[in-house]
Symmetry: C2
Subunit: 410 residues, 2 copies
């Protein structure tokens, strides 16, 4: 099946990267419920309708385009998100939505209906870049969104106020729960260098890593940097430095299965002539195997305790979040791999270190994910880039997946 829509999908992502579809003057930022988000929904609505879909917006503000099937019944969902991080790139999210639109456009152009309906979903809040929560809208659609805490964005705008302008409310988000679905398919840029390094355009995602995030607070004793002899110090930063290197060491021990990162570290009081009295740092550990992740976390925390005890520094560990691993559905993953092979690609399968809407949607229905090579493995960065030829290949594989799903479904 030819797939010229790949070029159009890329062009549309590029278009969404400029005014009025970004809230940043000299960069790309599309926060959930912002003016740019509203503008993006409007233009995507037009593209969905042009592709033969009817459109609606659910109670969590997700935009959904529906292409009826030969029969009613559970739909195949294809989607990703249209929000972005601050100063982000053009493809992280929108590419998966645009590829969904192109799948339907291709079927529609051929006046072809599948035995099942297809719905393309543009989720609203995957990144968590505006309000302090992530994947709110896909969790709402999957029916796993618990009670919503009160929250405001960095400018102090309450979520309730932002939702009101979209005709909904925090207590209504859970109403977005989607009807039972056949499957959820998501295409996304890889956000890592594995495919590029191996010279591959595409890869099938086997699952999304379990993620543990903690905050560690070390308390030593501040003191004058000129007058406190080295043996008398209880330097919180020196203790933190040992922990940072231990985190790296544990991660490097299992380079193919684990990543461990200290991404933030704050020093108090933070003056050149004062010995650090307190350090707060973040710890992020991910592995496809949650048992491995938990073992690694325990090894790091045990060693951190020993480091702190040796240095007469106290340590507190505060949980931030603990997301379980989310394996993709084995049967769907096999079908997607067959489509990949049929299109002439090696059957590369890889895990995702980043979270995706598919992780939330796994609670509603079986999921499958396709990764598209991105230049330098870069994402969350204005330099994010995909090649049209790779996107065309992705579209062909997704259409192959839909064909195979028809065969299985019938």
């Amino acid at each position: 099946m030819p797939a010229p829509g790949g070029a159009r999908a890329v062009a549309r992502c590029d278009m969404l990267g400029v005014s009025p579809y970004t809230d940043m003057k000299d960069g790309l930022y599309r926060g959930w419920l912002s003016p740019a988000y509203r503008a993006a929904q409007e233009v995507v609505t037009g593209w969905m309708e042009e592709a033969g879909m009817t459109t609606r917006r659910d109670a969590a503000t997700n935009l959904i385009g529906r292409y009826e099937g030969l029969n009613p019944g559970p739909a195949l969902l294809i989607g990703s998100h249209i929000d972005s991080v601050r100063d982000g790139g053009r493809y992280d999210g929108p590419l998966g939505v645009m590829l969904g639109v192109e799948c339907v456009a291709t079927l529609h152009a051929a006046t072809r209906r599948m035995p099942f309906p297809i719905e393309v979903i543009a989720f609203g809040d995957e990144e968590g870049s505006r309000f302090p929560a992530a994947m709110l809208t896909s969790r709402a659609a999957a029916g796993t969104l618990a009670e919503m805490p009160d929250m405001a964005d960095a400018q102090g705008t309450p979520l309730a106020l932002a939702l009101a302008s979209f005709g909904t409310a925090p207590e209504r988000l859970a109403d977005a729960r989607h009807a039972p679905a056949l499957a959820y398919l998501e295409a996304h840029i890889e956000q890592g260098p594995a495919l590029e390094t191996e010279g591959l355009a595409l890869g099938v995602v086997t699952g999304i890593a379990a993620q543990l995030r903690l905050r560690l607070v070390l308390e030593g004793r501040a003191g004058h940097a000129g007058t406190t002899a080295m043996p008398l110090r209880r330097d919180a930063l020196a203790a933190a430095a040992e922990i940072v290197l231990e985190v790296e060491r544990v991660g490097r021990d299992r380079p193919d299965e684990l990543v461990a990162t200290v991404g933030t570290l704050e020093v108090e009081p933070g003056a050149a002539n004062v010995i650090p009295g307190r350090v707060t740092l973040s710890l992020d550990i991910r592995a496809l195997d949650p048992a491995l992740r938990d073992l690694a976390a325990q090894a790091i925390l045990d060693e951190a305790d020993a480091i702190a005890a040796r240095r007469l520094v106290t340590i507190r560990t505060l949980p931030i979040h603990d997301l379980p691993a989310s394996p993709c559905d084995p049967r769907l993953t096999r079908i997607l791999t067959e489509a990949l092979i049929a299109a002439g690609h090696p059957p590369r399968r890889l895990a995702s270190g980043a979270g995706h809407d598919a992780m939330a949607m796994a609670a509603l229905c079986p999921t499958a994910m396709l990764f598209v090579r991105c230049r330098g493995g870069l994402s969350h960065n204005p330099a994010e880039h995909v090649e049209v030829v790779d996107v065309e290949a992705a579209l062909a594989v997704m259409l192959g997946f839909i064909d195979r799903l028809e065969a299985v479904h019938v």
Copy 2:
């Protein structure tokens, strides 16, 4: 000579720790040229006049009280500073000024004049806690202040505006250069635990350590913490952690002669799910022997280069300041030691790791410094504490020094 003024010196320091002599609501902060600084100058002016001094303010805003001698000619200067760090203690600075006032008050009460004038100086900017420069006003008095760069405080108030309200200007600070002086004597809390550990009230300072301060900037590559495999990372924080531990190792190698501190460390972009791309840290190295200090700095920087090279991280080193060691005058130090012994104290001599106004004043005249024991070695801390009995002892030793200086001078 009896010294009941010690209790009054402590009481006056305590009084300067509360409103209106502090700019902090629930703590002590007296920034140079602030309302609290102005209020402190006013009340100290009254105390100086009560002690028999005439007062004036120089072009660098230093408050000077003068007690005429039997002869004109070069004066004995006694002083310290009345500014403070943020959330500081009551004695770091003011104690030396109050002790100078009590020396003169004691002579005045006995209607005694020395062969030389005595001037008590309350310096304005020793800590550098408001504007990004330290010891501006003692450097101005010593005649070593070079051209003043334009600078503003953290609130954006220009130095020129702050000085204008004290009737002076940045370009006039150098006019504060003091006439040639006989000697400069400063009493100060130790800011370290040596005297307390040894059960001593007082110590004579042999000199002030040479101090080197640098900023190091490490540039690695930011990346997604979930999708970038450990072997592909160029983590600027992991490189910084190795450097922090190397700084500690070099300092610990010579625990009696050297201190080395990383007091600030900033991570960019600074998100829990992003590998640190850039780290900026401070390096502060002090030793009484400048050659040892420079050797230590070179060892640290060589190792930092090797760490950065191994990790494919770039490193830049920016000088912040390089203060030479400032030995106290051997003759004055001997006289002060004699006064110490005469008052019944063991002749303890020690080096100062912290900088003091005496360091700047050494360019104008011979200097001597007396350290007073402080509880727990604490300073730059609300818990800073001195015992009245120690301050009474310090006053007696300072008066003994003045007596001996008379004998030498005549």
